[in-house]
Symmetry: C2
Subunit: 160 residues, 2 copies
């Protein structure tokens, strides 16, 4: 099983995550861009993900809502810079509606080698304080659990 | 006359610029968001700016073309995250088409005090290399000359 590497260097307003998946990159890309698949892996297991909007084109908007066991809703939204593509990856803005006015730029790239796909994600924040706030909110836990769920989904989609 | 402060710390993928203008912030905001005004100050004096697209709304796209004295065209484009507003500022992505695939997130805020307006701009790049490439391309010169031209425009608009 792959391992998720999360890098958040002191003083640098970025979070970089990397993980290799046992799947061709077309399939991994589909898991990142098909809303019906995204809701099956994005976020911690105890939350339910609901897509509200998904417009995968230049200037298209996206929004999803994460519902916790108590029924509280947490909204996230952003816009796509360029159309997502296997080769060019996904470039999108990201804002958590619980703390409005703090925006990040997310870049996700997909690199295949020997039938495995390395997914690299760079989240650039407007300040180190914003980055540290995101980490303090428990984002690392969410990222790790999401990666595990994605690995399980990819195995399922490949009939393993 | 105000002075433009440009900060680009080693190892941090950001450029922060600040400058105070002798004008109320509504007017400064208009200079930043009305294409007819933008073309009068954005960019170095020896280039001609031409707006190609300007959709100031959430997910709206913008594109401008800078034409040098030899007639070469340099395109830039991006998308707006949220609608630009005096209070919330402007949050937009930015890509220079001469070096495609490198995207920055720009945040411009307007703060008024005593009839003067502080404009603060934070450009967050995907990597320090991208940031350094932008500086090497002569961006600092462009920023300083743009600020001077904006100051002149604001004086003109106020009949000074």
């Amino acid at each position: 099983m792959g391992k998720t590497e999360i890098t958040a260097e002191p003083g640098i307003p970025q979070i970089v995550t990397e993980r290799e998946f046992e799947a061709p990159r077309d399939l991994v890309f589909r898991a990142y861009t098909d809303p019906d698949l995204i809701v099956r892996w994005l976020g911690p297991r105890d939350l339910t993900m609901r897509w509200d909007r998904h417009e995968p084109r230049d200037g298209g908007r996206w929004r999803y809502v994460s519902v916790d066991p108590a029924g509280h809703e947490h909204g996230f939204h952003g816009v796509f810079h360029g159309a997502p593509s296997v080769d060019g990856g996904i470039v999108q803005t990201f804002e958590y509606e619980g703390v409005p006015g703090h925006v990040a730029l997310e870049t996700v790239t997909f690199t295949e080698a020997d039938g495995r796909t390395l997914v690299r994600s760079v989240s650039g924040f407007q300040s180190v304080e914003d980055r540290d706030g995101m980490i303090a909110s428990g984002a690392e836990y969410g990222v790790r659990e999401s990666s595990e769920r994605l690995e399980e989904l990819l195995a399922d989609l490949q009939g393993r």
